[in-house]
Amino acid sequence: MPPIATPETLERIQPAATAPDLLRNFCIIAHIDHGKSTLADRMLQMTGVVEERLMRAQFLDRMDIERERGITIKSQAVRMPWQVGEQAFALNMIDTPGHVDFSYEVSRSLAACEGAILLVDAAQGIEAQTLANLYMAMEHDLAIIPVLNKIDLPAAQPERFAEELAGLIGVEPEECLLVSGKTGAGVEELLDQIVAQIPSPQGQVDAPARAMIFDSVYDTYRGVVTYVRVVDGHLSRGQKVQMMSTGDTHELQEIGVISPDPTTAAGLGVGEVGYLITGAKEVRQSRVGDTVTTQNDPATEPLAGYRDPQPMVFSGLYPIDGSDYPALRDALDKLKLNDAALDYEPETSVALGFGFRCGFLGLLHLEIVRERLEREFDLDLIATTPNVVYQVTMEDGTEVEVTNPSEFPAGKIASVTEPTVTATILTPSDFVGPVMELCQNRRGVMEGMDYLSPERVELRYTLPLGEIIFDFFDQLKSRTRGYASLDYEAAGEQDADLVKVDILLQGEQVDAFSAIVHRDKAYSYGVMMTGKLKELIPRQQFEVPIQAAIGARIIARETVRAIRKDVLAKCYGGDISRKRKLLERQKEGKKRMKNIGRVEVPQEAFVAALATDGGGDS
């Protein structure tokens, strides 16, 4: 058995009474599927924090969606005892979110650590996402322990990827640890190396308290649970604390550590990681990145790096059954308690009825919110094609911010700016051509290209955010047989020749399908969308033209021919009940019909048109 600390040595590592030099704070940087959660599970087991019989896969991921998708949305921190020689240490493992949408939260998690395990699948090598987080960890001066996981896999190539990792962080390939989260091989050695290689936290014990919030979670029973790393001073139960960004004060009703369940403590000292409960009702009162200090002896300077989360991607969310609108509003209100980045305001669509225009950090954030609304609140939703925010300057100098394409102003436009990102793409060198072609199609400008190894290339592009939020990642995956990975970060704004394409049904604009696209792509969008709607809109008693237009100019047209026959020829004794029941079902279905002018369209047609891919690149 591994050297679990004894009761005597455990005394020395109690919360609020642990010397900083006995603390190690670390996180794990890994790509989705590279086995972070499994490794974390194994550490919990080996340090005795979770008994084997209570172990369930991915213990730390709390939400169903996280467990099913195998990704971590919200981070958490677990305190684990570990003994090296005669000395017991307290290890705080801070679990970081694993997706580009949450990179700000990742940066705060990193800021709470002194070291990071760089965990890479020994069969796949490093991915763009991981690389981006690695660079971020290096910027924070974290000690990096390179680890190759899944060495039990037959396809593992530890030598090859050890070279790659060693090259990236400037160590010898032999220094990469080889582990298997699945079998537990190498995990003890890894725990020892965490103690050996990761510096203990430094802070001023006697200074006014400063603790950084790296996560904030709403709990139905407890209200907001705030996760902090104490940098200076000390926090104690019962104290009045202050959020430095807002000046709001709260009483510390409870303070403690997670091991692996919340365990109350007298307080938290320098370098310690734990949770606070203040009675706050929504996570906005306790924002990630903010600094907590005490009201009696407040710090003067907040810790660096706080920023407000800004939505980057917008989409309209509509209930399929209009009567669910109040339920959707309540559900969004509830999600907001737990999601400081979620923004929404009511909007109305001719095609879709009443809904909300929602702002998200990115596409995954959108998908997760939508999935939680559908799953946890039992709502059926339609989401409009996501868009970014545009700044439109009119010739008379007025400026309009557009978060919904149907609100794009008419009239004389002087300029339109769109947000851009710098994207990093890692791909096997065989697929460089197709990846470059994709990026060019999406108006990308190449900023650089480096070979990480003869087989792997890092491409850097500046791309309009609007070009990558829809299906770019799917396209990238399909062009590289799934091997490429992508990371991006905001890179400001640029002017672009953008136009609004409207879709008209019998001359009536269908707002949900308006799109802001580059002038060069307007025609193909128009052809694609009119063609798709032609297949989906049922024939009416009259001919229905479907047009795509820029302003008053028609750029594409399809026609749904008038229906000539809808009746069944036979209707005798035994057919009557059947026919009436069909009529009754149609009455039910009527609720889901939308009228655009005289044209009656089942909501499913709009949903199908919005659900399928954009198809712009194939």
Partner: protein
């Protein structure tokens, strides 16, 4: 076995679920007597046998002669007569006034697969049970192959007034696709024999068979008109799930025509039949004179009362609809044990009766009363309803309206 052990189900319930279980239920006719005197009463008799099952057919019919017991072809007439007697008893028990039967319709299946004597006995039993109105319309369906001058004369002598032949098409490749085995040349012969026996004649045609061209359809129409029947029905082929033809379509062996093709064929039928002196009186039915309209079917469309005899047959009495068990064997078993063979039933709400009236009466040339003048005006403006009758508050469909009758129903019921 220990007495304290409770089995998961009682022996009685286990028997209920076994193969001897009766899949029937008691018929609840409470309240159906109200207004009965104002409603016509008819009888439908289902004959669930065919020599060959056609690929498109989803009717309740069987090609075996020996289904066993009262379900066999030779015992079937007696079983049907048994249901007739049970029907009368049930109506009496529900205080439904005895009304003479105004129409009887033998359908199938192929009724004429049974000996004429069997059909005659069933008809006689109906007469003995309820009496027949003096001008009663008595129809049987028939396959042109399954009649002879003798059988037709026997039926006429027994009181049958009308025969409806399943002609379907005059074009051999269309008949082949439909699995119809009769020789097209046999149809005029059968029609002549029926006329000679004194029967009014109707022909059934099917359009929209895979592979049928507009010219094929015109040929069939002209062949039918040539025979000068008193009545004609033309049905668009509907491929029902579970039929052999549905499988052929699914496998891509047959290509179904689209709705526009069927619309064109309907328009052609309406034009040629009108030119030949026929008048439409229901979406799929034309007659030379009002006397030759099928009164039995009109009763369905006007929500009159009728009792359906036979497996799978549907019935309607005063807003109560029910249907019999489908298979002839449990059907026969129920009748033999003196139970009505009811498989399911529904009591229509006022709204449901109103919905049915709209969807049925709109099909008729006599028109459907509609109080909403604005909607009447719109239907006329859209070319769906005829302007003349609209002035009298009636929806009488135009040719275009007949093809789009479902839309008209939706608009009348506020669904569109």
């Amino acid at each position: 076995m220990s007495a304290s052990v409770t089995p998961p189900s009682t022996p009685e319930r286990a028997v209920d679920r076994g193969r001897h279980a009766r899949p029937t239920q008691p018929l609840d006719l409470a309240g159906t007597a109200s207004g009965a005197q104002q409603r016509d009463f008819g009888v439908y008799v289902h004959i669930p046998f065919c020599a060959v099952r056609c690929g498109y057919c989803d009717f309740n019919t069987y090609t075996a002669t020996e289904l066993g017991g009262g379900a066999s072809q030779d015992a079937y007439a007696d079983t049907a007569i048994g249901e007739v007697r049970l029907a009368r008893a049930a109506m009496d028990a529900a205080d439904l006034p005895p009304r003479p039967v105004r129409t009887v319709f033998f359908g199938g299946g192929t009724p004429t697969l049974l000996p004429a004597a069997d059909l005659t006995r069933v008809l006689q039993a109906i007469e003995d049970t309820w009496s027949l109105a003096p001008d009663a319309e008595i129809t049987t369906e028939a396959n042109p192959d399954s009649v002879t001058p003798q059988t037709l004369a026997e039926l006429a002598a027994a009181g049958f007034t009308r025969i409806s032949f399943g002609m379907q098409s005059a074009v051999p490749h269309v008949l082949a696709t439909l699995d119809r085995t009769h020789d097209p040349a046999r149809v005029p012969q059968a029609v002549a024999w029926a006329r000679a026996a004194g029967l009014a004649v109707s022909l059934d045609l099917i359009y929209g068979t895979p592979g049928e061209s507009l010219t094929d359809w015109e040929q069939s129409l002209r062949a039918a008109i040539e025979m000068a029947p008193d009545h004609l029905s033309a049905y668009a082929l509907v491929v029902e799930p579970g039929t052999k033809m549905a499988a052929q379509v699914r496998r891509g062996e047959l290509l179904m025509p689209d709705d526009d093709d069927e619309a064109g064929k309907y328009e052609l039928a309406d034009a040629l039949l009108t030119e030949a002196g026929y008048h439409w009186y229901e979406i799929s039915n034309w007659a030379t004179t009002p006397d030759h309209q099928c009164r039995h079917n009109i009763a369905y469309w006007r929500s009159q009362d009728w009792w359906g005899i036979g497996p799978g047959a549907h019935s309607h009495l005063g807003g109560h609809r029910w249907w019999n068990v489908k298979h002839p064997r449990p059907y026969a078993a129920a009748v033999e044990s003196a139970h009505l063979p009811v498989a399911g039933q529904e009591r229509l709400t006022a709204q449901q009766r109103q919905d049915e009236r709209v969807l049925l009466e709109v099909r008729l040339s006599r028109g459907m009363p509609l109080a909403d003048e604005q909607l009447l005006t719109e239907l006329v403006a859209d070319g769906l309803a005829q302007p003349g009758p609209a002035g009298d508050g009636l929806v009488v469909l135009t040719t275009r309206g007949r093809l789009l009758a479902d839309s008209v129903v939706h608009r009348v019921l506020g669904l569109a």
